[in-house]
Symmetry: C2
Subunit: 545 residues, 2 copies
Amino acid sequence: MDNLISQTPSAYPFPMLIKNLIQTPLVRNSKNEITYRGEMRYTYADLYKRVCKLANALTDIGVKQGDTVAVMDYDSTRYLEFYFAVPMIGAVLHTVNIRLSPEQIFFTIDHAEDDIIFVHEDLVSLIESVKGRIATVKDYYLLCETEKIPETNLGFAGEYESLIADKPDTYDFPDFDENTRATTFYTTGTTGMPKGVYFSHRQLVMHTLALSSTFGSINTHGTFRRDDVYMPITPMFHVHAWGFPYVATYTGVKQVYPGRYAPDTLLKLIISEKVTFSHCVPTILHMLLSSPLAEKSDLSKWKVIIGGAALSKTLCLRAIEKGIDIFGGYGLSETCPVLSLAHLTEDMLELDNEKQAEIRTYTGTPMSFVDIQIADEDMNFLPWDGESTGEIVVRAPWLTQGYFKDVKSSENLWRGGYMHTGDVAFGTPDGYLRITDRAKDVIKIGGEWVSSLELEDIFNHHSDVAEVAVIGVQDNKWGERPLALIVLKPEKIVTEKELLNHAKDYIKKGVLGREGMLVKVRIIESIDKTSVGKIDKKLLRLKYT
Amino acid sequence: MDNLISQTPSAYPFPMLIKNLIQTPLVRNSKNEITYRGEMRYTYADLYKRVCKLANALTDIGVKQGDTVAVMDYDSTRYLEFYFAVPMIGAVLHTVNIRLSPEQIFFTIDHAEDDIIFVHEDLVSLIESVKGRIATVKDYYLLCETEKIPETNLGFAGEYESLIADKPDTYDFPDFDENTRATTFYTTGTTGMPKGVYFSHRQLVMHTLALSSTFGSINTHGTFRRDDVYMPITPMFHVHAWGFPYVATYTGVKQVYPGRYAPDTLLKLIISEKVTFSHCVPTILHMLLSSPLAEKSDLSKWKVIIGGAALSKTLCLRAIEKGIDIFGGYGLSETCPVLSLAHLTEDMLELDNEKQAEIRTYTGTPMSFVDIQIADEDMNFLPWDGESTGEIVVRAPWLTQGYFKDVKSSENLWRGGYMHTGDVAFGTPDGYLRITDRAKDVIKIGGEWVSSLELEDIFNHHSDVAEVAVIGVQDNKWGERPLALIVLKPEKIVTEKELLNHAKDYIKKGVLGREGMLVKVRIIESIDKTSVGKIDKKLLRLKYT
């Protein structure tokens, strides 16, 4: 039968397209609602109609297959409409990172060759200076929540609601190659200008299917279910809000879009809309839990994936004690993003909080379809023995094929058939991945690697510490030494010496190699963050070494 | 950006292969067990090791990519191992329908050009006559549960357990084109010899992902979950046991394989192994519920999809009253098979049993990725208005591309870009499909179509009726008239005339057009079934007209 291999299914192709995530009775007849800040709410049937209206509007204003439509908005139901309508007509959605500087935003719009830009009224000033400098942008459209059009020289060609108002609410979405580019956005690189990554329909569909069919070990833990209520707390401009707006829509669950992030607004929405599933970075979780409102709130129905930066055991324990089902996730802008989730097995859920926190802060087990290897510098794959440490390299159906118009960086990203993450980790025999450092954040003391994350965790255990970042600083004797930059909680007065002794006590207990004793401590006012809320170690190294 | 469309993801391909359903820590570290009849049980790690051992054994005996490996077995953990190992080395798994006649089995083995056959000790006699007649079959291997090798002239080249015993328990499964054929089997055609259908890795993976990410409206109804316990009650040789052994493995749930089907054995396994999820045809459900053991058993944790034939409202109500979460499913051998599931919305779950049964016996709402249309004879798509009736035509990522080596039948199957199912149905405005008949079973009375299924349901409401099949018989005046062939329950003595009056009373209430009054009734001893337990209307028409 050799000759018949590979003939299937060429005759009747069924491409994997984003339209398939929304175009079924299961989704369109879902009885759940989708709300913007709890102020406006509509049904799944409404969502589909508005997606069709937007598709008609885009087609009418001349958007063609292969064109790029940029959106500058906060998390909104509008944004969800763009997530579907733009790729479904064969165009590319550019989710602009609105936290970048105006000059960086200009760079990304120019580099992505955007054709049309939709911009929120409050963000108009960010691109006023850009007008006229970008040859490709034909028109600007306004996303306006108030009656009054902002004063600006941008010369809007139209406003979202009036643009779609009279359009037909059906659209015959075409079939095309599933490898067609669907989305693009820019990573907040730690060196040089942002780099563009891009994802195809096939990639986003596979990511959605894998995520929505990944269950926790038991049904109540860590699982995305039909009766969940979803709210993103990672911006929709950032890696498709970790892909969950697609998962939530495909699953037909209730969805809550919070607009701008403010801790109390988010908490109020979690309570009033009965949100059960979110994802966010540690910094935001920290802000939420530190709000006085959190004290009074029942968060015991809330599941939250923490990613984007290492989840400290201290923060994890605080969340567990509030009854939150908290667990780590791992992925990069380059990986769509989800690669692994720190789901616990049934046995592990029996452990005490302290031991559970140990596992919940792990990077987790690879999702289905994700081939994660730990590699040494010669691309030998190391055993998952709980010890052997190397770089995480990965294959999966949803990784960016490179950086847009940047051959050199792309070649560095993909080597030996694997994407190189720059993250350093070991694996345990039961399949859990533990990141010990970003490759570029690793501190080398006299030839030995010391984990800055482990050191940070030690300082986080001190009750007066609000935030800590450990960087490597040059040292004549040791090559490098760790420097802990620490922000204290309000009105705390612990000294640098006391903090150092706290760390040394911990290290003496054997939680870290003796090299860790060489850590230096400096108390500072605040720690610099990148545009997506991660600690900006590159900037810290510039400032403090 | 036009020029860049479709470049993704050619550089770093990640084919969708069956190995991806089992090769992740999530699956391999599942703490659930897999049992054969409750007598032998092993872990997921064992399953993976045995799949590797089998792959090594197959490679050692010369099975190459593109070869076809036939299996003749009852539902077993061995069969599950074949489901993975054979496609994972790039070969094709032929699941032989062991309920066919020896001559038909010979036809399928010959037509599929099988290279190797594994046969259960009790089924040896079925193919003894075949030996020497099939050029392609190189060797026969035995699947033996007892110590003694059966006496036969087959000349076995080996026995399963001893074949794999000493093989290495790892295997470096290769990547290849995702469109590679993975499985083949033969439909029990109602005309002529069986027809071969075939499915690729991509198709089986998509089917698995769609099924495992399809949720009921609320989490307790109709949903396959991580804490389910799965047992097939549709044979593994028949359309991949509806695809659920792949879903169950991918999801890491406890699995129970029952060997041969006997009602009391199945019931005992459901109770002792705490089975919560199965699928079967109405005939088997009827047998299970009629067993005295069922009376005493708590089946209120059991979810069961009914397919293969129409689920009568009467049987559905009986199941509901036992607390069973019963719901219809729809698919064909040609469709991998699942196309739709009769999940209820939250509102519907509030309805009384009678009204729920109405919906649970529906064909259901199309699964994600399934494009179902109701077409008239000119392939105009009809509205889903609860009335307009036509043929179900379908597109989905997992439909057979044709019949194996049968161009003419394939051309008839696929017309106008859609697969023609031969089933007649209407759709409701909220997306539920209701099959009224098989196209070839439709009865035309004076130009009007009458549904044989509706008539059957009316007779099923009579308390003395055990089973009924309605067929069309030639009639000089009307062209065709319906004939109801009825089997009575033991010791019941209702007359044909009384049954006819029962039907007429129902029809007068308006549940069916007046043409239904022309039905004739005949009480018979038993109703003929096909090899997979469906009512054999073709044979009945031959016998009774």
